[in-house]
Structure formats: C-alpha cells, structure tokens
C-alpha cells in the first residue's frame, strides 16, 4: 500500500452548504484491498447527517467500493470505519435486483426482512409504489419492468423503509434519458423530504448540480478533492476542469 499522503484539495471554507449535525460516517485512513489491488487507499472522511455527498471520478476510482463500505457490505482492510448504529440506510445499486415476483412484493420484502408483518408490508408497499408512479404496475412481475421502472421500484423500497441514509450507485447510469429525468426528479423530492443523508456516485454532472451539497473527487482509490458542490461545478480548483466529456467528469489537480 502506498502510504505517501498526497495533498487533498479542499475549499477555503470547507464547510459544505447544508451542514448538519452529528457525524454519520467517520472513516480514518481506510484502505480496501481486493487480492493485490487496493480499491481504496488512505481515505479519511467524515459525513454528517443532512449532507448530500456526490462521489465523482473515473471508472475504477473506488466510488462503488466506498458506497459498499459505508453500507457495511465490506469491511476495511486497513483503518477504521464508524457507521451509525441506529439509522436505517439503503443502498441502491446500478441494476437493482428484482425478485421473481410482483412489484408489490419486491417492495414489501425489505420491510418484512426488518420485522414488519407481511400484510402490513404489502399495504405500505402499495403506498410507496404510488409515490414513485408505479401503482398501476404493482401486480406485474418485477422482472418484466423496464430498467427505469426497476430503478423507481428500488427507490420505493428505500422510501418505504423510511431510510435516514440513502446510498446510490450510479442511479441513472443504465437508463434512458426520459427515465433518467423521472428518477432524478424523484431523488430531488426524496432529498428535499424526510431523508437525512444522501451519498451517491454519478457520472452526469447534472445530477451533482441538482442534488449535491458536497463533492468528493476520487481517483485511483484516493480522495483527490473534497469541495462544496457549487465550487466544484464552477471549477474553482486551480487548473481543474469539470466539463463533462462522454458523461465522464474530467479534472486535473
């Protein structure tokens, strides 16, 4: 592991715009290794309740690994991670897994796994599906839904569980433009609602502009910049370019 610390780019007033209360996640010199490859290296980071954090960076920069780490799906190979013990968090995957059953049951199963009675879970699932505009498809086999509809169904799963923390891995990467707009609108509504904390990885900068209060730029498994969203989008970093090329944000530090 390369332990040479590189300077982290931060804004002059590094406090993100929508700040918040207690720390939800605290990462101290965290490294994650898969075989001989370090997917994350020397990541120290604190995310507070109420923050809307965007993770940007090229493919293979460690965004998904960081999200999985925050969700507790993997443990660090080095360093320490503190996660909130009592909050409900949901991770939305780029291609959400649909059980081979109806849309309604796919939403209800999350609640059921957390102890709700099946009948109550189904009732709440119906409400959640209405919330994301899928009420008419509640009894359809979820596997036959379009990818955009499946992404909305996954959002309904998160909504029905009243998640305090929503982690999203490229939520709009594999869906077409129209479906992307619908999902982005839903996410904006979520972010403005009861949800406390949002951490998402994204290629399209549009989503960063709409949702993020803070941007973490990752490259080669390291955090290269940690900035308020406005500053990131204005390219405030010396020599940085945040223009999107083929949907991939480019910057030089």
């Amino acid at each position: 592991m390369n332990l040479v610390e590189e300077p982290l780019v931060t804004a002059q007033n590094a406090q993100p715009a929508r700040v918040a209360g207690r720390a939800m996640f605290m990462l101290d010199r965290v490294g994650v290794r898969f075989g001989s490859t370090w997917a994350l290296q020397s990541v120290s980071l604190s995310i507070r309740a109420g923050e809307r954090v965007a993770l940007v960076g090229p493919n293979g920069s460690g965004k998904t690994t960081l999200l999985r780490l925050l969700n507790g799906l993997i443990e660090p190979s080095a360093g320490t991670v503190q996660r909130p013990a009592t909050t409900r968090q949901t991770l939305l995957f780029q291609r959400p897994y649909m059980l081979r059953t109806t849309a309604q049951r796919n939403v209800a199963v999350g609640l059921w796994l957390r102890g709700a009675r099946w009948r109550d879970a189904c009732k709440q699932a119906d409400e959640a599906l209405s919330r994301v505009g899928l009420a008419a498809l509640a009894q359809r086999n979820a596997r036959t839904l379009s990818v955009g509809q499946q992404q909305r169904l996954a959002l309904a799963r998160a909504w029905v569980m009243a998640s305090d923390v929503l982690l999203l891995d490229e939520p709009t990467a594999s869906i077409d433009l129209n479906a992307r707009r619908e999902v982005e609108t839903l996410l904006s509504e979520f972010a403005a609602g009861r949800l406390q904390t949002l951490v998402f990885s994204s290629h399209p900068l549009e989503l960063v502009g709409r949702l993020a209060s803070r941007v973490l730029c990752l490259q080669d498994g390291r955090i290269r910049a940690d900035l308020p969203a406005q500053e990131f989008l204005q390219g405030a970093v010396t020599g940085a370019s945040t223009r999107s090329f083929d949907g991939v944000p480019k910057w030089r530090l």
Binding site: L73, F93, Y97, R100, V109, L113, N141, R143, T144
Partner: protein
C-alpha cells in the same frame, strides 16, 4: 427365443392391453423414485442453498466430497444401505431390508448429492450476482439462502426432474436392497434385468419402452419449463438433460 420384431410386437400388445403385472411394476417404480426424490429434494435444497451462501473453513473439502458423490455408483449405495439395514447393521432393528422403504432410502441417498450439488451451484451463482443486494435489504445469510432458493425455484424444479431421472433409471441400489421380489420390490429396471436373463423379452422390452417414455417425458418437461421461464422473465438456466444410467 423370440426374434426382436416378434418380441417388440408382444411388448406393444402388453402395453396396449395394460397388462396388470406390467402396471404394478411401473407403478412401484414411480412410487419409489418419487418418494426418494421428494425426500432428497427437501433435504438437498436446504443443505445446498446453505452451502451456496455460507463460507467456512473446510468448505472446499466439503464441495470436493459433494462433487465426488455425484458420481457415486448406485451399487455402492446399495451395498452401503444393505450394510446399514442388514440384521447386524446399525439400522437392522427397523427390519427394512428387501422392502419398499429400503429402496426409497437407497435412492434418496443416491440422488441427495445431485440435488445438493446442483442447488449449491444455482444458489451460489445467484448469490454472487445478487446476494449483496439482499444483504443490503437486511437479509442475514440463512434468510438470503432461502430467498435465493425461492427466487430460483424454477431452476430448482429442473433439479428435481434431473434427480428423478437418475433415480428412476438406476438398477444397482434397488436390486441389492430390494431384492427384486415379485409383486413386492420388483421395479422397472430390476424387472428388465431379470426378464432379459430369463429370456422373456416381451416384458423386458415393454418395460424398456415405458422407461424410455418416462425419461422422454421428463426431458420434454425440462424443455417446456425452460422455454416457459424464458418467456416469463428472460431467465435461462442450463441443466443437463436426463439420461438413463
């Protein structure tokens, strides 16, 4: 000895006339193999699903043994069950030797590894692809294995059919522990072996035709299931065709 065309014509006559001796052997065969498959399926799916998601020291060795058991010769299973059930064996007190139960037990032991190994593979593949999402939804490993088993139920149905194909077509185990007693433990495969050695080819050929029809029906079911699944949600699972061992 009859010529083959004459024997085949006589066999077809036996089939057409629904010969009682023939029907009783076919019925017993189906009953033994179905019972064995259901027992093996109940145990094998649970154990296989658990193996598919669990990680523990020595798992590789367990899988190696399991895969070896896939090639377990039916006569070896017959011998093992014979030893277990013989009067001086640990299960001798049951008095099951040369009975319907003995044949079911032997075939259960024979096909349980098939169910376990195929289930383990199906669940492990599904877990690789989707297990993390179920964990993220709040499913602990045991619940994850059950959810994945339920979600892969059509793949597991094809496992059941494959297991039945292995059970109905084996001869060694039922011969040893059943004893091929007429009207009591005689099944299709043991009857074919006996009638052939006696030179009663019509009955042997008629039973052979029924056995082939059963295996053909199973393969037709597998194909129909696969194409239906493909139509329902685009999923496709490769399962080896059923063959006569």
């Amino acid at each position: 000895m009859d010529t083959i065309p004459q024997a085949t014509a006589a066999a077809l006559h036996l089939l057409a006339s629904l010969d009682p001796a023939l029907l009783s052997v076919v019925g017993r065969s189906l009953a033994v193999s179905m019972s064995a498959c259901l027992l093996a399926f109940g145990f094998g799916v649970l154990a296989g699903a658990w193996l598919g998601v669990s990680r523990f020291a020595g798992r590789g060795a367990v899988l190696a043994v399991l895969n070896t058991l896939l090639a377990l010769p039916s006569v070896v299973v017959g011998l093992l069950v014979y030893l277990l059930l013989s009067r001086s064996g640990p299960l001798g007190f049951l008095g099951w030797l040369y009975s319907f139960q003995a044949m079911v037990l032997a075939q259960t032991i024979l096909v349980a590894p098939v169910v376990m190994a195929l289930t383990r593979q199906a669940i492990e593949d599904a877990d690789h692809a989707h297990g993390e999402q179920l964990t993220s939804l709040g499913a602990a490993p045991l619940m994850r294995s059950l959810l994945l088993a339920w979600d892969e139920r059509y793949a597991l149905l094809t496992v059941l059919i494959a297991a039945f194909g292995r059970a109905i077509s084996e001869v060694g185990a039922v011969m040893i522990v059943g004893g091929n007693i007429d009207g009591f433990t005689r099944v299709m495969t043991t009857a074919i072996a006996l009638e052939t050695s006696k030179g009663d080819l019509p009955l042997a050929i008629a039973l052979g035709i029924v056995l082939l029809m059963v295996v053909l029906t199973l393969n037709a079911l597998l194909a129909a299931l696969r194409s239906w699944r493909h139509g329902v949600d685009g999923a496709a699972t490769q399962v080896a065709p059923v063959g006569v061992a």
